[in-house]
Amino acid sequence: MHILDLLQNSIEAGATRIVLRIEENPAQDRFAIFIEDNGCGMDADMLKKVLDPFVTTKKTRHVGLGLSLIQMSTSRCDGYLQIDSTPLVGTAVKVVYRYHHLDRPPLGQISSTVRLMIIANPELDFHYIHRVNDRIFSIATRELITRLGDISLCHPEVIGWITEWITDGITRLYGGACNEND
């Protein structure tokens, strides 16, 4: 849920390229999420403010409760939230948890998030990279469009293919289980 929220922030910052990287490493007790966009970015002043739930600036960027909720959940799990941003260049968000912490939120239905990011944002170059130990799954809007030509990402056959491709890919990351909880 947090991930989709962060991605929507990037879109509203005018990003045309977003990279979402998830790294799960149980052996090193580390669970990290990276989101990098080429949106409008934020200056140092704004960066200080975004984590305060009571300072919501809806002028250029609609960041309100979202980031403070994430910070709360990371600090509860011996992790942290780090945001680097340069105006006009983009923003990089890093969310780190201790993998085995009892309060770490589960990744949830990430395949459904990835699917809608790709299909519902055809003009956005979305790149998803998911690593679990030494297994990797990745998918990118640009790569799909290159192969599909003028066929829409929202064509029923394409939706079916993308859905299966993502579900299979992520299932294989976990050695056959649908998600980390199975």
């Binding site: 849920m1 989709l4 929220d5 929507q8 879109i11 509203e12 609609h62 309100g64 409760l65 979202g66 239905q109 459904s112 998030t113 699917r115 809608l116 299909i119 519902a120 944002n121 790569e143 799909l144 192969r147 599909l148 030509g149 066929i151 829409s152 929202c154 064509h155 029923p156 056959e157 394409v158 939706i159 079916g160 293919w161 859905t163 299966e164 491709w165 299979d168």
Partner: protein, 121 residues
């Protein structure tokens, strides 16, 4: 198992089937700000994509948008059929989706009970 090369075959197959080219299609827009997501926008969006794939609907395009300031009525879904006013539906749940697709998107009948706004663009 699927391979990325399948997409090329799929492209050829779809191109062969598509003899009618419509310049515009029906747009379905889902509100996905923090409020929409919290209210279940992802599940509604998933239901929409599944229904389009299941009914093999061509020329229907699903898009996402941010918060439009009607947070209490989320999940908000707008349906825009070519040449018709933009219809906003509020408090949409995944179980409303099959009805919305069948009635409005396919047959052009607006579901008045769910409407929160109409806009002529």
């Amino acid at each position: 198992m699927k391979t990325i090369e399948d997409l090329k075959k799929l492209r050829e197959k779809v191109q062969a089937q598509t003899d009618l080219r419509h310049a515009t299609g029906t747009q379905i827009i889902v509100g996905m700000g923090t409020c929409g997501i919290a209210a279940g926008a992802r599940e509604v969006m998933s239901a929409l994509l599944d229904e389009i794939a299941k009914r093999k609907l061509q020329n229907v395009f699903v898009r996402q948008t941010g918060c439009i300031g009607l947070c209490e009525k989320e999940v908000l879904v707008d349906v825009v059929r070519p040449g018709e006013p933009r219809i906003s539906y509020g408090n949409v749940t995944p179980k409303d989706v099959p009805v919305m697709i069948a009635e409005h998107v396919v047959n052009g009948r607006i579901i008045e009970a769910l409407v929160v706004g109409k806009f002529t663009e």
